[in-house]
């Protein structure tokens, strides 16, 4: 009986968890925008005021949080962005956190804020 109890104790006491498959590390900036980065062998480096995660760069002062996620939570709404939406933009930022004007937009990913919401926009 003692051995059985011991075995049960060990079985209960030692748990090996195979956690959810967190394939992304999602960063959220102070304005609520999110950008997810695949975590496979990901290295995060900090240089000065910039955090680099894979191909993404963030200004440290603009980051509010990061967390592991099971899906790409990069701020969506690309399909909803229209020229009219762009006209409603109050602020436009590149992924380095620099505020830019519509005229400065080139190929790349931008965060577009309107009065009502924030979008991620890809210019091709």
């Amino acid at each position: 009986m003692k051995k059985i109890l011991l075995l049960l104790t060990l079985m209960v006491g030692t748990l090996t968890a195979q956690a959810d498959n967190y394939t992304y590390l999602t960063f959220e900036t102070t304005d609520g925008a999110k950008a997810s980065v695949a975590v496979e062998n990901l290295t995060l480096t900090i240089s000065g005021t910039t955090l680099t995660a894979g191909s993404q760069q963030f200004t440290l002062s603009n980051l509010s949080k990061m967390y592991f996620s099971t899906a790409d939570e990069t701020t969506t709404g690309i399909e909803e962005v229209t020229a009219a939406t762009l006209d409603e933009a109050t602020d436009i930022y590149d992924l380095q956190g620099h505020k830019i004007s519509k005229e400065q937009m080139r190929k790349g990913v931008y965060i577009v804020k309107t009065k009502n919401r924030t979008y991620k926009m890809v210019v091709r």
């Binding site: 030692t14 090996t16 995060l44």
Partner: protein
Amino acid sequence: MLTIAAGAQTLKVTEGNVTYLFPAAQAGEMTFTDGITLTIMNKAFTLSNVSMTIDNTAVTDNSVAVVYSGTTATVTIAGNVAQFVDADINGAHVNLTQSSLVDDVVGEITYNLSGSSTDGELYMSGSYKATIELNGLTLTNTTPVYSGAAIHIQNGKRIKVKPITGTTNTLTDAANGSQKGSLYIKGHAEFAQKGTLNVVGNVKHGIKTGEYFTIKNATINITSAVGDGINCGQYFLMESGTINISGTQDDGIQCDIDDTDTYPTGTGETTDHEDEDSGNIYISGGTITVNCSATAAKGIKCEGDMNITGGTINASTTGNGTWDSDDLETKAACGLSADGNMNISGGTLVLTATGSGGKGMKCDGVLTISDGDITVKTSGGLYYNNGTTENTNYTGDTDHIDSDYYSSPKGIKAGVKTESGNRYTYSGGIVISGGTISVTTTGYNGEGIESKNTLDIIGGQIIVNSYDDAINAAQDLTISGGQIYARATNNDGIDANGNVYIKGGLVYAIGASGAEVAIDANSEDQKKLYVQGGTLVAIGRLESGASLTQSCYSTNSWSKNTWYALTVGSDVFAFQTPSSGGSTMVVSGALQPSLKSGVTVSSGSSIFDGVGYTGATVTGGTTVSLSSYSGGNQGGGGGGPDGGGPGGH
């Protein structure tokens, strides 16, 4: 214990030589503050000081790993306890501070130590129980930073120390520190698992624990210590495992009462040892081998009781006695020593003392032996020292010198006789009800078994070959059972300063020739020998004025080294006579006995190390004419046996 297996993602945050492992499943929201600080699971990092990677490293909750490598060390801390453990690293000198916030909710933290360093240490503080795993660690502290110990646990709670099964670990402390042990644990220490721990103590003890010390399975080798091999407080408990101690400059194992202010005489044993501060030693299994060479060193010593119910103990001391300038008395070496009682109900004990005044085992309280196999050998002579003059083989008369000035070698000693003016008080004593006890003393003045109070033998087999009295009591000595062989080459076989009662058992007593007797009571002080039962063979006469309620018979001569058969009813006891002894042989039994000499023994149960057989079957021999014996005033001493006789076994 929860382990997040490989395959899951882990964020590794590295700050200097310390890495924190945060499993993705636990990390939750990791918050940035002002672009300066990142807080993960309540652990704040300065971003400019860290680097981060993500991989599939498995993480075990509540774990901390310290890996030593040459002159550096790295520390890895599981994310769930990152906020509770601070690590400072100076070369390979590691200081871990466990937060006072660790509690039953957080749970116990396990510190796994591995690698090798010729100049490193671990210092850990905290206020909640912890486990230290020794996972193939070789650690030498050369230039102390936090402590001179190789491992110093400044945590007063229960500390488990686990030499991991299959690993060998070696700890060596600094030679120039002030540490109390190469492995120092302030709190309770519980050693477990089947690995090996080698310890060298360069300043004081090999292992020092402030509170209790327990061991199960582990192997501990103390190869050198300036003080004791193992020194602990509260109590010492061994269930299994192996302890080997040598090269100490003091005792092998010493256990003291920890808090003598609160418990001047200890708590005694408590239920499940809860809050026990007894100074007791408990040994129920395992093997202890202690070789002590220091003067007056004890193999195993305790301030409380020593309780042995099993296991194997080999304790050898070679040191002579010494003068204790604090207590102003001589002290001598001893295999097992207890200030309280000593209880032996099992196990195998082999105790050897070769130094002057050396003893096999002693206690100040009551020695109770109910089972076990005990072998004691002493060969040292009488130790004399009055504080200015030392003699390691004193052969002078001790009757008129202060007892503080000398230590007699003894196989087994128990009890205390205290002198106050012309009055004496007696405490402690010896009770033997079972087991096999073999005692040999060859040095001058060496007594076999001595009680400083009463001595009662109820059972067991006792074999004593001694220089001085074989079995001696300062008060009454009673034999009501058991098998006793007591041979003294230079004094009495059995001697009491009180009365001697033979009520039962089998007694084969041999006194020296001359003025000595086989069985001596203190008739000078109106004490007597009472023979009331049992089977008796006494070589050398009995004390004068004995009360022989059970009839005794004698022959005035016997042949040395000859097999005799004493028949009492249907029981035959065959015995071999010694090479020397008093001239009269006295025998007695429940029924009128008959005696034959020169018999050949063909079967029986061998006892007394082969010089006796009970239930013997014998052939041949010559009937010995026995005379009624009325007391010790006939036959006299001197003369010794006649020549060798025929037959034998």
